[in-house]
Symmetry: D2
Subunit: 494 residues, 4 copies
C-alpha cells in the first residue's frame, strides 16, 4: 500500500482480512467532525507557537475546512485501505498540499492523545443532547402529573396491591430519578471535559506545544495533566457507560410498568396506536412492541458497560488497541437512549389513563388495611403490632373487601386481641369510603396526599431550574469556544 504514511518500518502491508478486522474507519465517522476540529485547533496552536508559518497554517486550515464540509455534506469518500480516520485525514491534507507543509500537521501529537480528544469532545456533546431529552421528558411527566393529582391508583409491592396512591405521585417518582440522572451527568461531565491533547504517544513531546491554548480553544475546563493518565486511563468511558446504564435501568423499569399497565388484565393505561405493532396472523392484536424493545435495548446498554469494563480491566497501563472497541459501545448506548427518550416523550404525551379501571382495582381490594390499622393506633392508642394483627384477622375472615370495615367485627377483634372494649363511631367507615379523605390523612412528608404531591411538584420544579442552569452554562462554554475558534480560523484563512 503506497498510501501508507505510517507503515515505513514494516516490510509487508496488512493482509486484506486483517485490515478489515482492524479497521475502525466506518465507526470513526462518529468522531470525524471532532477529529477535524481537534486537528485544526492543534495546528493553530502550532502556528502560534512558531512551529508553523502563516502560509502553512492557512493552507492546512483551508484543507481541513474543505474536508469538514465534505463530511458534513456526506460527500467524504472513505478509502478502505486506511485502518482508521486519523491517517486518512492526514493523508487527505498531504495529498492536497504536499508533504512539505501537510507533513507537519501531526507534529507534537500522536493518535493516542488525538483519539482520546475526539472521544471526549464527542461524549460531551452526547451528554448535552441526552440532558436535553431528559429535561423534555421531565416536562412531559410534570404536565401529566399536574393533571393527575387526584387520579387514584393502587401502589404495588411484590406485584400485589399495597397502598392507595395517585398517578401524579408515580410520575413525580420518575421525575426525581431523572433529576438525579441529570446531576450524575453534570458530575462526570467535569471529568470528561478535560484536555488530553499533548500527552502525545504516552510520554509527552519535545516539541514546544502549548496545552493550555488548545484547552481554551476547545472549551475544555482544564487539561488532564499526567501523560500516561491521559492516554491509558479509561475511567471517563466507564463512568459514562455507568451513567447511561443507570438511566437505562430507570427507563426499563418504566417500560415494565407500562407493559403491565397496558395488559388487558391491568388495563390502567392505553398506549397510542402509533407505538404499537400488530400480528401477521392474529387480527385482534395490538402489541406494545416498542415497550418490549425498550427492555432489550436497555439490556444491551448494561452489557456495554460489562464489555467495556472487561476490555479495560485486562489491560496493563499504557495504550492498547483493545480500547478501539470501546467507541461503538459508547455510540450505540447513546443512540439507544436518545431513541428511547424521544419515544417516551411522545408516548407519555399521548397516553390514555384509565382512571375508572384503577378505581375499580382499588375497590376490589383490601388496600386500605394499613390505613385502618393506623386509625386504630391514632384513635385508640392500640399498639401498632396489635392493630396490625386485628386487621390481619379481619382480612382473613372477610369474604369481600368491604367486610374489613364491619364495625362489629373490628370491635370483637379489638376485644379479643387488646382485651379492651371499644366502641367505634357509627360513621367511622365514611372516612374510608372517601379516598380523598384517606389520602388527606396521610400526613407524612412525601406521601401521595394532595398537599404533599403539590409540594413535591413545586420542589421538583425548583431543582429542575437549578439543574437547567448548570446545563446552560456547560453548553454556553462550548458555544463560546466554537464562535471564537471559527472567527480565528476565518481570520487565518483569509
Amino acid at each position: 500500500m503506497d498510501d501508507d504514511i505510517y507503515r515505513i518500518r514494516l516490510k509487508k502491508p496488512l493482509k486484506k482480512n486483517v485490515l478489515n478486522f482492524l479497521s475502525s474507519l466506518r465507526d470513526d465517522l462518529w468522531i470525524a467532525e471532532e477529529d477535524i476540529i481537534g486537528t485544526e485547533v492543534h495546528n493553530i496552536m502550532l502556528y502560534e507557537q512558531g512551529i508553523l508559518n502563516k502560509n502553512e497554517i492557512k493552507k492546512i486550515l483551508i484543507s481541513l475546512e474543505n474536508i469538514k464540509q465534505k463530511l458534513l455534506n456526506n460527500k467524504l469518500e472513505l478509502d478502505e485501505n486506511f485502518e482508521d480516520i486519523h491517517p486518512f485525514i492526514e493523508k487527505c491534507v498531504i495529498d492536497e498540499m504536499g508533504i512539505e507543509n501537510g507533513g507537519k500537521i501531526h507534529t507534537g501529537r500522536s493518535r493516542n492523545d488525538q483519539v482520546s480528544l475526539d472521544i471526549r469532545l464527542k461524549i460531551r456533546n452526547e451528554l448535552n443532547y441526552l440532558s436535553t431529552n431528559l429535561f423534555d421528558l421531565f416536562e412531559v411527566f410534570q404536565n401529566l402529573a399536574k393533571k393527575t393529582i387526584l387520579n387514584f391508583i393502587p401502589l404495588y409491592t411484590h406485584l400485589q396491591k399495597a397502598q392507595l396512591g395517585v398517578f401524579a405521585h408515580f410520575l413525580n417518582n420518575y421525575c426525581a430519578q431523572i433529576l438525579r440522572s441529570l446531576d450524575r451527568i453534570d458530575e462526570i461531565y467535569k471529568r470528561i471535559n478535560i484536555n488530553p491533547l499533548g500527552a502525545c504517544a504516552i510520554g509527552g513531546t519535545s516539541i514546544n506545544i502549548n496545552r493550555q491554548r488548545t484547552t481554551a480553544l476547545l472549551g475544555f475546563f482544564n487539561i488532564i495533566e499526567n501523560s500516561i493518565d491521559a492516554i491509558s486511563s479509561k475511567d471517563y468511558i466507564l463512568e459514562t457507560l455507568m451513567c447511561l446504564s443507570i438511566i437505562a435501568v430507570q427507563l426499563s423499569r418504566i417500560a415494565e410498568d407500562l407493559l403491565l399497565w397496558s395488559s388487558k388484565e391491568f388495563n390502567f393505561v392505553e398506549i397510542d396506536d402509533q407505538f404499537c405493532s400488530v400480528s401477521s396472523v392474529m387480527p385482534q392484536k395490538k402489541n406494545p412492541d416498542t415497550i418490549e424493545l425498550v427492555r432489550s435495548r436497555t439490556s444491551k446498554i448494561l452489557s456495554a458497560f460489562n464489555t467495556a469494563s472487561i476490555i479495560v480491566k485486562t489491560t496493563q497501563t499504557g495504550y492498547l488497541r483493545d480500547f478501539q472497541d470501546l467507541k461503538p459501545l459508547i455510540r450505540d448506548s447513546f443512540d439507544q437512549l436518545h431513541s428511547i427518550l424521544e419515544i417516551y416523550i411522545d408516548l407519555f404525551s399521548t397516553i390514555k389513563i384509565n382512571s375508572e379501571q384503577m378505581q375499580k382495582s382499588i375497590h376490589d381490594s383490601y388496600i386500605l388495611a394499613l390505613d385502618l390499622a393506623e386509625f386504630l393506633v391514632n384513635e385508640y392508642n392500640i399498639p401498632f403490632r396489635n392493630a396490625h394483627k386485628i386487621v390481619a384477622e379481619l382480612v382473613r375472615e372477610s369474604k369481600y373487601p368491604q367486610d374489613m370495615f364491619n364495625k362489629e367485627s373490628i370491635e370483637r377483634l379489638i376485644l379479643k386481641i387488646e382485651n379492651k372494649e371499644i366502641k367505634l363511631p357509627e360513621n367511622f367507615v365514611e372516612s374510608f369510603k372517601d379516598l380523598n379523605t384517606v389520602l388527606k390523612n396521610r400526613i407524612s412528608q412525601g406521601s401521595p396526599s394532595k398537599i404533599e404531591v403539590e409540594k413535591l411538584i413545586r420542589s421538583l420544579k425548583e431543582n429542575k431550574t437549578q439543574s437547567l442552569n448548570r446545563f446552560t452554562k456547560r453548553v454556553k462554554k462550548i458555544e463560546e469556544a466554537k464562535i471564537y475558534r471559527e472567527s480565528l480560523i476565518k481570520k487565518l484563512i483569509s
Copy 2:
C-alpha cells in the same frame, strides 16, 4: 411458628426449606447495628411527637441498647425462624417488655423504608472507610514517587516499548486515578446520605411522624422525599457498585502491571515474600498469587454490578423481594476492595524496584526513536511525517539499537527523503546517550521530565488536601449526629 408477629393473615407457616431460601437473617448482621440505631432514632422521634410516652421510650431504648451491646460483643443469638433481622429485633424488644409498649416500635414505618435506611447508613460508613484506604494508598504511592523521579522505565503501548519515562510518572498516574475515584465517592455520597425513613411501605403514613427530625438525628443531608422513590428506586445502590467497579478496574490494572513486572522476563520489581505463595511440588517457585487474586476478585465486583443491574432492571416500580439480594453484592464488593487496598498499601511499601533491569531494557531498544524524529523537526524543520519516515528507515536497516544514531546513516536518509544536505554536529548523539537530557527536552506539560513530574507531585498534593477536607467534613457530620444522639439516649434512659 408462634413467634411470627407479622404472619397473621396466612394459615400456614413457611416450609423449612422455603424459609432457608428466603432468609437473609445471617446476611443482615452486616446491617444489624444500623438497624438498631435506626429504630432508636425512629422511636425517639415518635416520643417527641407524642406517640410514645416517657416511660415507653425509656424502656424501648434500654431494650435496644441492650440488644446492641450483645451484637457488638458477638453475643446476639439469632433465631433461625425469622426471615430477616427486622422482625427478629422487634420480637426481642416485645419479648423483653411486653406487647403493650414493645408493640409500638414499628409505628409509622415499614420494613421497606427501614431496610433502605439501614443500607444507606451502612454504605456511607463503608464509603468513608474506603476513602481512608484510598488516601493511604495515595500517600504510599507519593512517597515512592518522590524517590523515583529519576528512575528510568520504558513506557509501553501495545505491550511494546514506546517512550522513555520514569517510575514516579507511573505512580503519579495511579494517584491521579485515585483522586478521581475519591471525587466520585464524594459525589454519590450526596445521594446516599439522604433519609428514606417515613416513606413507610410505599405510600407514607397517617401517623404524625417527623421526617426532618430523624434526618437530623442520623446526620443525613436531607430526606428522599417522594415515598415511592424512597422505596422503589435503587439507583443509589447501582451507583455505589459502579463507583466500586471503577476502583476495581483501576486496582486490577495495577495488578496486571505488577504481574508483568514481576515476571522473570521483565523483572522490573520484586514483590516481598509476604505477598507470595509457593508450589506444592516445584521447589523453585515464588508466585505472585496475591496479585492474581486481585484480578479475579475485581472481576467479581464488576459482575456484582451486572447482577445488581439485572435484578433492578426487571422490577416494576415498587418494592420487590428481589432487592434483598442486592445487599450481599454491596457487602462483598466493599470487603474485597478494603482487603485489596490494605494489601496494596503494604505491598507498595515493601516493593523492590530493579532500576538496573529497567535501564537495561531501555538500552536494548529503539525507545528514543520519537525523540530522534522530533530532534530532526526541531533542529532542521523537517516535516514531522518525513522525520518519522527517516527514523523508521533507520530502525529498519539497523542491526542494533545504537545503529539508529549513526550520523552518516541519518544524513544519507535525510538526503534521500527530504532531498536536503544536512550535516549533523559531531556530538549530536551525546544528548541521546544521557537519558536525563532526553527527558529534560520533553518540555510539554505533564511529561515525565523532572520539572513536570515535580510539578505534578505538587498539584496532586494540593488536590488531595481539598479532597481530604471534603472527606473530613462528611465524617464530622456523622460524628456530631452520633454524639448528640447518644447523649439524648443517655438522658432518655436515665
Copy 3:
C-alpha cells in the same frame, strides 16, 4: 509459621491479612471429601506401582480414612494458618505418621492436578443430584398436566392474549425444556468425568505413575491426556456454568409466569401460603417472595458465568491463582438451583389452578380471531391475508368480543373485501362457543388440541425414560467404582 511444609524457599511467611485474602480453606470444605478420596486413590496406585510399600499404604489409608470420618462427622478442625485444604490434609497425615512415610503422599502429583480432580469429582456428583431434581420436577409437571388437559387458558404473546390453549400445554412446554436440560447435562458430563490426575504441575512427572489405574478407581470415563490441557483448560467449568445458566433462565421464566398469574389482576393460580411472605405493616398482604427471589438468585447464576468467563479469559495458558475463585461460583450456582428445584417441586404440587378465572379471561377477549380467520380460509377459500383483514375490521368495529361473531357483519365484510357474496350457516357460531371444538379443529402437530396434548404427554414420557436410563448408567459407574475402591481400602488397611 513452622507448620508450612511447602514454604521453604521463601524467607518470610505470608502477612496475616494476605493469608486471609488468599485462603480458600473454608471454601474448600465443599471438595474436602473428594480431596481425601483422590489422595487415597493416588496412593493406592503409588503402592501398586511399587513406590510405596505395604506398610506405608496401610498407614496412609488409615490416616486418610480417619480424617474423612472426622470430616463427615463435622469434627475436622481446620487450621486457619493453611492457605487451602490440600496442604492442611497432607500436614494432618504427616503429623500423624511422621515425615518418612507421610511425606510420600504427594509423590508424582501437584496441587494443580489435585484440585482439578477434586472439582471434577464434585461437579459430577452435583450434576447427578441436579438431574434427580429435574426428573422429579418433570414428574410433578406431568402429573398436573394429565389433570389439566381441558383447563382452558389464554396463551399470550407480547403479554396480550393471543390464542386459546390449555394449561397442560403450558406444562408440557416446561417439560420439553427440562428434557433438553437433562440432555445437556449428559453431554457435558462426558467431558467432566475424565481424569486430570497425573498431569502434575503442568508438565507431567518422572515418577512412574499409572494414570489409567486412578481413572478406573474413580469411575472416570477416561483421562484428560495432555498435561497442559489438564491443568490450564477450564472449559469444563465454563460449560458447567453455562448449563446451569440455561436451567436458571428456564426457572426464572417460570417464576415470571407465576408472578403474573398470581397477581390479583390475573389471578390464574394461587400459591400456597407455605411459599408466601407477609408485610410488617400491611395486614392484607400475601406476597410471592419466594418467586421473586427465584428471579434474583437466577440472575446471580448468570453473572457467575460472566465472572468465570472474565476470570478464565484473561489468563495465559498455564495455571493461575485466579482459578481459585471459580470454585465458589460453581458451588453457589448448584446450591441455588437445588433449592429452587426443590421448592418448585413442592410449590407445583400444591398450586391451585383458578380455571374459572382463566375462562373468564378468555371470554372477555377476541382470542378466537385467528380461528375465525382460518375458518374463512378453510370453508370459503378466502386468501388468508384477506381473511385476516376481514376479522381485523370486525375487531375494530366491535364493541364487545361477541360482536366479532356477528353473521351479518362478517358477510358484509367478506363482500367488501373479497367482493364475494357468501352466506354463513346460521349455526356457524356454535363451533366457536364450544372451546373444546375450537381446539379440536387445531389439527396441526403439537397444538393444544386434546389429541395432540395427549400424544405429547406420551412422547415426553418416552424421552424421559431414555434420559433416565442414561442417568442411571452414569450413577452406576460411580457406585461400582466406589464399592470396588472401598473394598480395596478395607483389604489394604487390614
Copy 4:
C-alpha cells in the same frame, strides 16, 4: 401507510422514529435467504396438502425465486416502511401476483414460527462454517506441532517458569480444546436442527398443514413439537452463544499467550508484519494490534451471551418483541469468530518460533527443580516432601541456576534434612544438562516427552477424523435436502 398488509385493526400508522426503533429490516438481511427458502417449502407443503392449486404454487415459487435472485445479486431494494423482512417479502409476492394468490402464502403459519425457522436454518449453516474453520486451524496447529516436538519452551504457572516443555505440547493443548469445541457444536446442532414451523403464533393452526413434510424438505432432524415451546423457548439461542463463548475464551487465551510471547521481554515468537500495525509517531513500533483486538472482540462475545440471557430471562412464556434483539447478537458473534479463526489460520502458518530465546530462558532459570527433586525420590527413596525441601533450600542458597546442581550442596542438604549420607554419582548432572534426557524421564502419560507428544499427535488425529465424519454427515443431510428441494421447485415451476 397503505402498504401495510397486517396493520388493519389499528387506526394510526407507526410514528417514523418508532418505526426506526422497531425495525429489524436491515438486520434481517442476515436471514433473508433462509426466509425465502422457508416460505417456498411452506407453500410447497400447502400445495401438496391441497391448500394451494398447481397454478398458485407455480406463480408463488416463480415470484419467490425471483426475489431470491435479486437478493443474491444484491439487487433487492428494501422498503424502509416495513418493520421487518417477513411482511416485506410477502408484500413483494402480493404486488407481483395479486392478493388472490399471493395472499395465500402466509396460510397456516405466523411470523413467530417463521422467524424461529429462519434463525435455526441460519445458525446451522454458521455452525457448519465455524466447524470448517476450526478443523483448518487444528490442521495448522498440528503441522506446526509435528515440527516442534523438540523445541524446548518453559511452561509457566502464575506467569513464573514452572516446568520444561516443548512447543508441540502447547499446540496439542490448543488442539484438544478445539476438538472439545467441535464436540459441543455437534451436540447443540442436534437441538438446533429441528423444525418449529407449524407452531404458528403460539397455539398451532386449524389449517391442514403437514409439519413432517417441511421437516424433510429442509433437512431437519425432527420437529420441535409443543407449539408454545417452539415459539417461546430460546435455549437454542443461549446454547449457541454459550458454545461460541467458550471458543471465544479459548481464542482469547491464545491471544494472551501470543501477546506475551511477542513482547520484546519474552521474544519467544515473531508475528509476521501482515498482522501488525505501526505508530503514527513512534517510528520503531511494530504492534500486535490484531492480537489485542482478538481480546476485545471476544469480550464482546461473552457479553453477547450476557445480554441474551438477560433478555430471555425477563420474559414470561410466550413470544415477546425483546427476542428480536437476539438476532444481531448471534450474527456478530459468529462473524467475529469467523474472522479471528481465519486470521489465526494465517498467523500460525507464518509465525516465527525463536527457539534460541526459549532455550536461553530455560537456562536462566531453576525450571528443573522438580525434576531434581523427583530424581532424589526415584534414586534414593527420599520422601517427596523432603526432596522438595532439599531442592527448595538449594534454590534459596543458590546464586546462579547451575548452583542448584552442585553435588556437594545436595549431599550436604540430604544429610541435614534426611539425616542420610548419600553419595551422588559424579556424572549425575549430565542427565539434567541434556534437556532431551530430562523430558525422556517424564514417563507419565500426557507429558511433554517425545514419545508422549507423538502419541498425542496420533490420538488427536484419530479424534479429529471421527469429528470430521460427524460433521460431513451433517453437511450431507443439508445438501441432499437442498438438491431435492431445488429439483422439486424446478418441476413445479416448469
